[in-house]
Amino acid sequence: MNNDNKGYLNMELLRFTTAGSVDDGKSTLIGRLLYDSKAIFEDQMELLEETSKQKGEEGINLALLTDGLRSEREQGITIDVAYRYFATPKRKFIIADTPGHIQYTRNMVTGASTANLALLLIDARHGVIEQTKRHAFIASLLQIPHIAVCINKMDLTDYSKEAFDKIKSDFEAFASKLEIKDVHFIPISALNGDNVVNRSENMNWYEGSTLMHLLENIHIGSDHNHVDCRFPVQFVIRPQSSKYPDYRGYAGRIEGGVFKPGDEVTILPSGFKSKIKSIDTFDGEAKEAFSPMSVCMRLTDDIDISRGDMIVRENNKPTIGQDIEVMICWMNEKKIIPNAKYTIRHTSKSARCIIKEVKYKIDINTLHRMEDKEIGLNDIGRISIRTTKPLFFDSYTRNRNTGSIILVDEATNETTAAGMII
């Protein structure tokens, strides 16, 4: 037990997203991961047993565990993104569990936006279906660094290697059209536990790792950009106290690259140059800072810097511009209005923008560009916008933090679209 107490000092955090429909065994799989890692407690189990019995179901319905809202339980469907947590001695996991149906594309996109890994479930009996393609497309669009394709219900195909190989090659054929970097295929039975936490004795032909082994060991250290220095100023700290009369620190989160005291930096939009005097934290000065650390920086020169400005390196600046091409996922009942104005949020900056043109809409099942340019709830398409002031951005494929935006409806204040800069 003493070792367990110290082990947490080396634990990493992995965020993954799952999408699926009622029948593909997603709830069973999540239930198994949670149960086998002791993240479901006795009182939750009791409540589940009771509710399952009340509904006249056989056994325990693990889906009830993820359906948090009364309306979801009443309708028997998951509507919203549900966050679940479990940990093993190696890692802590955050699951963003989302519904898989087409009408919930926006929830899938939301869950995918912060994920290191996407867990795609395929029913071994049905193979690659429309929903699989849709999920793979969203994972690729949101640039989730790793994908684990779990081919489930292997027990119902007699643990057949042929069935697994066929689905694997079908998926690879489809994925070749997408920007997917790192894919792993695992044959499992969530119900019986084959290759979930423990190796299956029914599939000796499979030599890869179990799902849990993959989740625990996949390399996530390179998921953040540690090359291009980007520090959006979030908040200016000026204590003006007797102890710190002249302190002026720029607080924010590193969104790319590595910063060190003594580094020469350029401030955008002014273009002024300065040097990093110190990187301050509550626990003392830091020797370096990298994504996703929250720090406070001091510069050697007194320059007027405020929220929305960005500290970068002179020889590696982001694109500075007002005309931006974006792939968007529409998230609101109110359709996009060409030429209308929206509030745009990007890093710590807020501006207004106008929708100049809808270039095309994508059929997310076939990946074809559609003639129809009317973008409404759950649609994905490419648009061009012009902002009232310059943004400092990178392409989303280069940096998820400096390449993402949201649009806010100016009448309702609702978040109406999520965008990835091209």
Partner: protein, 301 residues
Amino acid sequence: MHYYNLTHLKELESEAIFILREVAAQFEKPIMLFSGGKDSIIMFHLARKAFHPGKIPFPLMHVDTGHNFPETIKFRDKLIQETGESLIIKYVQDSINSGTAFEETGKNPSRNGLQTVTLLEGLEEGKYDCAMGGARRDEEKARAKERFFSHRDEFGQWDPKNQRPELWNLFNGKKKIGEHFRVFPISNWTEMDVWQYILYEKIKLPSLYFSHKREVVNRNGVLLGKCDYINLKDDEKWEEMTIRCRTIGDMTCTGVTESKAINVEEIIEEVAATRITERGGRIDDKRSEAAMEDRKKEGYF
């Protein structure tokens, strides 16, 4: 090669600090709710980190039911005195006196629900446009669907079906006049993360969290500590037991657990081995399956 990666605690800390700073930047008059429990003590610690070496740019607010453990109040007052940060206290008793809140009657009266009335009055009176709380998504299933930035209408109500999508680290705190937000910086922390962080950061806690002897009554499987606000039923009696609190709320509804854990290391071992959720001992959650969801819709945090 140098390995640029944070531990899970450092990543959660960085995320919470980011949210706290975002609140200070996006809202005009935010406030941080403080109950004296471990989650709000952690929040306070994170807020000091976020704005160091400056002061926390918003006050704390404690909604005091009058049914707190005396240890909690003592700890709260000492913490504020030592750090010099500012605290506003709102009393449920004042709402009862002015007739906006009504005391429950019966064998098991609780002021837990009345907190919502006093909280909303306090927010309105101070014209606060954002209240931060230490709620975590792993606590309860209605909370699993809560956003970091949770929009509330002018009555403080939560509309779970109409929540704003939240992507990447872009938070939308825009609102109409009279509306406000609840913000939960430690949404992604689990009970275990909280305890590991307390150990790692050497954060001080009220003595209630550690094993001690106390007179308790066993009511429907929940152990309640002796106080003036609990009326014994005929077949009940006070017995001395060795216990500690897993959560701290009102004395009338906070179940204690039998425990010999006297320090944070031992509590971590206990949490790792336990098979009952943290709120399993909370009578206020046991009233119905959607008890928390219903209270949240009305404006409970």
